[in-house]
């Protein structure tokens, strides 16, 4: 009995290992990039999807008229060239005559017009519509020319058009109502297969007008646990991976066969205050909080130092030296004084909300901030929420404070008009009305001279930091980890994976 039991156990284990080993040998063809990410796309409609995880997939399939390069300069995509009229009220594009949809049809001006009209139609429900409100009419003088007639000069419009939310889709597909179920774009890859939250199979688009794709295709696996992604990298199951969690990403360099790329991103970590709620209504209290938070310490603890302390403007072209901003050096004494002056010498209690796992460091950030603010007598209660509950609460502005990771844009106006202009869509989230801020935003929007724009937004940033409706913390990195034989990836601060078009998989 004893023997047979031991035997059973041994043979079971042996069987398991044998089976396991059988699975290990499965490899894809050399020229196909095996990729993994932890969050999958949530839908295929480029106009409607706003989740970053969706956009980075759709960017490989669809194309906008123009796109941003790694330095956030606007470069041609479907459009070969473009120009603003003198008065800044018309914007015309010349399309690449070679550009073709994956169904074989040429990308025509009519497709562009149809795409933007769809985007603008309220029944589409496209959130990005808000960025294109200045478009009045669209003319298509010929097959390769598109002219946008604007209600007022709108410099940030062009930057907004780099978003995949402004992708050009086939007019015929709009007609057929199949946008969102079939992905037919003009981009470098075709989406052959999509099993949500499981995997994507992409093949290179040989007809792509933008150049030659170096890999045959990309197989994406969705591995929700990032430690599993790391394990898969170590065992060479995947060639390339996106990582979010700095705790995991920092382990990659320990592995001789792997390389880790860090790219500073535009998205910013922020502690949002709600200036409509007492005592955050007091400028002194907000400033005290700003002074009491040690941004570098939060970064060092929650993100293991993986990032850069930053002011509100995160795009290199506009960013200023954060040390020049209000209270970016921690000053507890000043904070205490500010509190006392505002009548809160004994501090107060407040609740801070944070989303579970989004970003993965949210809980840690909240805890460090909690301990820092405790030093000036502010008692924070952390309330973690499932992402959708958080979003719901956030949109209602129903919080004292919120730990957030907000999206950055290449243009300061598109990035912040929703919060800090009087008509901003998310004004009720920011809950802070400031004439100076609104004024500077409006000036920045119509100013076409880059140098003057820079000055305007520098003033905007300085004022914003000083009135402290929010406490900007830092920007983190986006991480890509790859095997040593994977070369040529060009990362972008927008987090775009468009750089995969130049990747080669070596032997």
């Amino acid at each position: 009995m004893g023997k047979s039991f031991t035997k059973t156990l041994v043979s079971t284990v042996a069987f398991a290992v044998a089976l396991g080993a059988a699975g290990f040998s499965a490899t894809a063809s050399a020229a196909t990039l095996r990729m993994a990410w932890s969050q999958d796309a949530t839908g295929l409609d480029p106009h409607k999807q706003t989740a970053f995880s969706s956009l980075r997939l759709l960017e490989l399939v669809y194309e906008p008229l123009v796109r941003l390069d790694k330095d956030l300069k606007i470069i041609p995509a479907l459009a070969d060239s473009w120009e603003f009229s003198e008065d800044g009220k018309t914007l015309s594009f010349k399309l690449d005559p070679e550009a073709k949809f994956q169904n074989g049809n040429k990308v025509a001006a009519a497709d562009v017009k149809a795409s933007f009209e769809r985007l603008m139609a309220e029944e589409t429900g496209a959130a990005a519509r808000a960025n294109f409100l200045s478009i009045e009419t669209i003319d298509t003088p010929d097959d390769t020319t598109v002219v946008f007639n604007l209600s007022q000069p709108d410099v940030p419009l062009l930057t907004a058009m780099t978003s995949i939310n402004a992708a050009v889709v086939p007019a015929s597909e709009i007609e057929a109502g199949t946008i969102g179920t079939k992905a037919i774009g003009s981009g470098p890859f075709k989406l052959d297969q999509w099993e949500p939250n499981s995997k994507e199979v992409l093949t290179a688009n040989k007809e792509w007008a933008g150049g030659e794709v170096k890999v045959d295709g990309i197989n994406v696996s969705v591995l929700p646990d990032e430690t599993a992604i790391l394990a898969a990298l170590r065992t060479k199951q995947i060639d390339f991976a996106l990582l979010n969690d700095p705790l995991v990403a920092t382990l990659v360099p320990n592995e001789a066969s792997l390389t880790l790329d860090r790219t500073p991103v535009l998205n910013y970590h922020v502690l949002q205050l709600n200036p409509s709620r007492k005592p955050m209504t007091e400028l002194g209290v907000r400033q005290a909080i700003s002074c009491a938070v040690d941004r570098q310490d939060v970064l060092d603890t929650a993100l293991l130092g993986e990032g850069k302390v930053s002011g509100p403007l995160t795009m290199p072209a506009y960013a200023s030296d954060p040390s020049q901003l209000f209270c970016y050096e921690r000053d507890v004494e000043k904070a205490k004084k500010l509190m006392a002056d505002a009548g809160y010498a004994d501090g107060f209690s407040a609740t801070v909300i944070a989303a579970t796992g989004e970003p993965p460091t949210a809980a840690a950030e909240a805890q460090v901030i909690q301990s820092q603010l405790a030093e000036i007598g502010i008692k924070l209660d952390i309330k973690m929420m499932e992402l959708n509950v958080y979003v719901d609460t956030w949109l209602k502005g129903d919080f004292d404070m919120a730990v957030a990771l907000n999206g950055g844009r290449a243009d300061p106006y598109s990035m912040y008009n929703r919060y800090w202009t009087k008509a901003g869509n998310l004004q009720k989230v920011a809950n802070y009305i400031d004439d100076t801020l609104d004024d500077l935003m409006q000036k920045g929007r119509v100013e076409t001279d880059p140098e003057k724009r820079k000055e305007i937004f520098a003033a905007f940033e300085k004022h914003l930091a000083e009135v402290s409706p929010w406490i900007w913390l830092y920007t983190a990195y986006s991480y890509t980890a790859q095997q040593k034989n994977v070369t040529g990836f060009v990362p972008s601060p927008t987090g775009s994976l468009f750089g995969l078009t130049t990747v080669t998989v070596g032997e």
């Binding site: 705790l247 603890t301 809980a363 805890q367 952390i382 499932e386």
Partner: protein, 279 residues
């Protein structure tokens, strides 16, 4: 206190009883704030310190003392486990007794409702409850309690049905004893034994479930600590700071082991079936 003596006379009861006793002591110390360090104090210069003389079990990402957090965490996990099991046992007892005693339609109704709860995937049920109410200690208590209520209802209903036909209940009826008297004195008192066993085992389950919920980010909320939360926080630091996984992991394993051993011992002691005479 014959039962304590009996537990300590039982070989696995001795181990289980000692473990559980020790844990309860630790939990009380933790709750009372008698810990080596302040469990919330972030010694940020000492982040991710390996175990040493000052920090017996090392420090975590924030430089908090793991040993102190473990003590508080055991307390927190115990509170969740005890409270949820107590709720479930109470609800289950009331429902199970009602089903057994009133029979017929009531039995059918109660048991069908329990069937609904049982058929509803447990983790999803917990998830939905937590999503509706928002995560937190008392939400997880409620969620775990609701998941366990049908189990306790079944545990009570079966023996209650058989107790109902026992001679001493018949005897009580011949005296004309009141329903209340029969339910409390004859049924409840005799259900104490099977319930005790089930409660002990459910406590072990409660600890595991709390850990599972915390792993999904739905249990105890930071900066408070619980065994499950400490474990789940440690998973991405498993390689950098293994002590963050090892100590809470061991703590939860030994704790559950303790409850299981104690439950087994109680089963042996309280269940007349295993006391069967030889030959």
């Amino acid at each position: 206190m014959g039962i304590v003596k009996a537990i300590f006379a039982h070989p696995s009861g001795r181990i289980g009883g000692t473990i559980v006793g020790l844990y309860i002591l630790i939990a009380f110390l933790g709750m009372a704030g008698i810990t080596p360090h302040d469990p919330l104090m972030q010694f940020r210069v000492d982040r991710l310190h390996a175990p040493n003389a000052a920090y017996w079990m090392g420090t975590d990402l924030f430089g908090r003392d793991v040993a102190s957090r473990l003590m508080v965490g055991i307390g927190q996990s115990f509170v969740v486990a005890f409270a949820s099991v107590a709720l479930a046992a109470t609800a289950g007892t009331v429902l199970g007794l009602a089903a057994a005693w009133f029979g017929k339609g009531w039995d059918g109704l109660i048991m069908r409702v329990m069937d609904v709860l049982l058929a509803f995937p447990a983790i999803l049920l917990a998830l939905l409850i937590i999503a509706v109410v928002g995560p937190g200690t008392w939400t997880s208590v409620m969620a775990i309690a609701i998941v366990y209520t049908p189990i306790f209802t079944r545990v009570v209903r079966g023996p209650a049905l058989s107790l109902k036909t026992r001679d001493f209940v018949d005897a009580a009826r011949t005296f004309g004893s009141s329903r209340h008297y029969i339910l409390t004195r004859h049924l409840m008192l005799n259900l104490v034994a099977p319930l005790t066993v089930q409660v002990t085992l459910a406590l072990a389950w409660g600890l595991l479930t709390e850990a599972g919920l915390s792993f999904l980010g739905l249990g105890t909320q930071p900066p408070a600590s619980s065994l499950g939360l400490m474990l789940s926080d440690s998973r991405n630091l498993m390689e950098t700071a293994p002590w963050l996984l090892v100590f809470p992991g061991l703590a939860i394993m030994i704790g559950i082991l303790g409850f299981n051993l104690l439950g087994d011992a109680l089963r042996d002691i309280l269940d007349p079936k295993t006391r069967r005479a030889v030959a």
